[in-house]
């Protein structure tokens, strides 16, 4: 498994300092979401300022998501953006988490052609490198 981690060829995230708690979370196999203190609502994607109208809150609590949601939309990709994806067929999806936010990810653990809008999914963590773990989603059994 360590060889796979060292040889991860696909794009890694363009990290910004303000998102660190999220990636610390995934590394520990937790799906953490930032919560605006003014509205009490979680948001995604993580950024330095609350995206809710009327709020300029910039210090957030981070709460753990149940990791459960539904496939809001998806697309089976037969061609990837870089050479690292050559020959692969994979699913990019917009997951609607039960927490009320949308999160882009891959749906894994299922034949791409079987994925459907509305399908119930749950988070599964994929360790890409020593430092980076991605939150991906698999169908709820």
């Amino acid at each position: 498994m360590s060889e796979e981690k060292n040889e991860y060829q696909k794009p890694l995230p363009d990290f910004r300092p303000e998102t660190k708690p999220f990636w610390d979370g995934t590394k520990n196999h937790k799906l953490l979401l930032p919560k605006c203190k003014d509205t009490g609502k979680v948001f995604f994607y993580p950024r330095a300022i609350s995206p809710f109208p009327g709020s300029v809150n910039m210090d957030f609590d981070w709460v753990e998501s149940s990791g459960k949601g539904k496939v809001w939309t998806f697309s089976v990709h037969y061609m990837g953006p870089t050479r690292a994806y050559k020959g692969e067929t994979y699913v990019v999806a917009m997951i609607e988490l039960d927490d009320g936010v949308k999160m882009m990810s891959n749906v894994v653990g299922i034949d791409p052609e079987e994925v459907k809008i509305g399908m119930e999914v749950e988070v599964v963590f994929e360790d890409a490198t020593e430092e980076v773990t991605f939150a991906k989603f698999k169908p709820v059994q």
Binding site: R16, F44, T73, S75, V76, M79, G80, V92, M104, N106
Partner: protein
């Protein structure tokens, strides 16, 4: 004193007072044209527009450009002003993706209305096809989505639109043919446009038999990449007469913008997109004092087949959920009841954002569209969209002066 809050009414007054419109257009050859730099295309397009207008380069006192996907220019508009030898009183780079070209017209009008310039050259050009390396292309794809929370999942540019397309088909109980038929109509139109890049026959069967890039989209559902330049010149009717121009301007009657999101992660649902399109169109219509009933020909941002359908519905041209059926029935064809993009659009003619859409609107209104001409159009709507159906702009152009 100081109690006035500006509104569209002020714009209406100014457009009526100043009678601003497009007096010259220029399009270079489009397609795979190696050996010409981005700035060469900008120059050539500008030359053609200046000559079409019947003015001198020295008459131009405003420059509005976009951006380059090839050249790393920090200040694009002033770099081009330097290059072409124009000392502009007004200079602006409009960089809102595909919403740019449409908005250049509005920006030119606003500059003119505020006395910053009188004759504004709006130009975009690039050697995107021949000049961009594969690393450059990868960088471009990365910029179309969130580099931290979207790109690492392998989203491609067609992929982003494909996500929206699948959701649309799900909500409308639609099928792939609804999307692909937009491409079929665009190809039919492109065949009649001299500088169109794609002119080979294209049938629905062929598209259905083509491999998917990202479900449900094939390469035919995606805009082409091309080299070329395009420009148009905006001024007032009074200035046009002062310059001794024979032709009346094609007048700007209204303009608007609408914002939905930038990243798909921030797009809660399709209604959010429809809302942004609607807002953009509504502002343009209100300023123009018009509705969809006044529009004779429409130009929509067809970077992907799905965007065309979403815009048709968002603008209220077609009832919600029915754009796919319209496309499949051929109703978007120049001879049908809802003609769009008679130049072949981004799907078949060329990709310079909505530049060619603005230009073709002008050609149609002038009666200069040749074999593509629709019958006596008086009013054209042109809609641009930047990002992944994210940022929208609309203008309404007409042959009649603003009243």
């Amino acid at each position: 004193m100081g109690t006035h809050i500006p509104s569209i009414d002020d714009t209406k007054e100014l457009l009526k007072k100043n009678q601003i419109g497009i007096i010259g257009v220029g399009e270079t050859a489009q397609g795979k044209i190696p050996g010409k730099s981005s700035f060469h295309f900008l120059s050539e397009a500008s030359k053609l527009a200046i000559e079409d207008a019947g003015i001198q380069k020295s008459d131009v006192d405003g420059i509005i450009t976009a951006f380059s996907l090839v050249e790393e220019t920090f200040m694009h508009c002033t770099t081009f002003a330097d290059y072409i030898g124009i000392n502009p009183k007004y200079f602006e780079s409009v960089a809102i993706g595909g919403a740019t070209a449409v908005w250049m017209t509005a920006a030119a009008a606003m500059a003119i209305n505020s006395g910053q310039a009188e004759v504004v050259l709006c130009v975009r050009g690039d050697n995107t096809l021949s000049g961009i390396s594969s690393t450059g292309m990868i960088a471009l794809i990365r910029e179309m989505c969130h580099g931290e929370f979207e790109y690492p999942f392998g989203l491609t540019t067609p992929g982003g639109y494909a996500l929206m397309a699948n959701r649309y088909l799900h909500e409308t109980n639609g099928k792939r043919e609804h999307l692909h038929s937009v491409a079929v109509t665009m190809r039919e139109h492109a065949k009649l446009k001299e500088n169109a890049m794609m002119k080979d026959d294209l049938t629905l069967d062929e598209i259905m038999g083509t491999r998917l890039l990202a479900s449900p989209l094939t390469k035919f559902d995606c805009s082409i990449v091309s080299d070329g330049g395009a420009a148009f010149i905006v001024t007032t009717n009074a200035k046009a007469k002062e310059l001794g121009l024979k032709r009346d301007p094609v007048y700007l009657h209204g303009m608007g913008q609408g914002f939905s999101h930038q990243y798909l992660t921030s797009c809660e649902n399709l209604d959010q997109i429809y809302g942004a399109v609607e807002k953009s169109g509504k502002k343009a219509f209100e300023t123009a004092g018009m509705t969809n009933d006044n529009v004779d020909i429409t130009f929509l941002y067809d970077c992907f087949t799905i965007t065309t359908l979403l815009e048709l519905e968002g603008l209220g041209i077609v009832p919600r959920g029915q754009a796919g059926a319209y496309a499949l029935e051929g109703r978007l064809h120049k001879d049908a009841d809802t003609p769009i993009n008679t130049h072949g659009g981004l799907l078949s003619q060329a990709h310079l954002g909505a530049m060619h859409h603005v230009i073709e609107a002008v050609l149609q209104l002038r009666g200069d569209a040749g074999a593509r001409q629709v019958k006596n159009p008086n009013v054209a709507l042109v809609h641009g969209n930047g990002g992944i159906v994210s940022a929208h702009s609309t203008i309404i152009l007409g042959n009649e002066p603003v009243s």
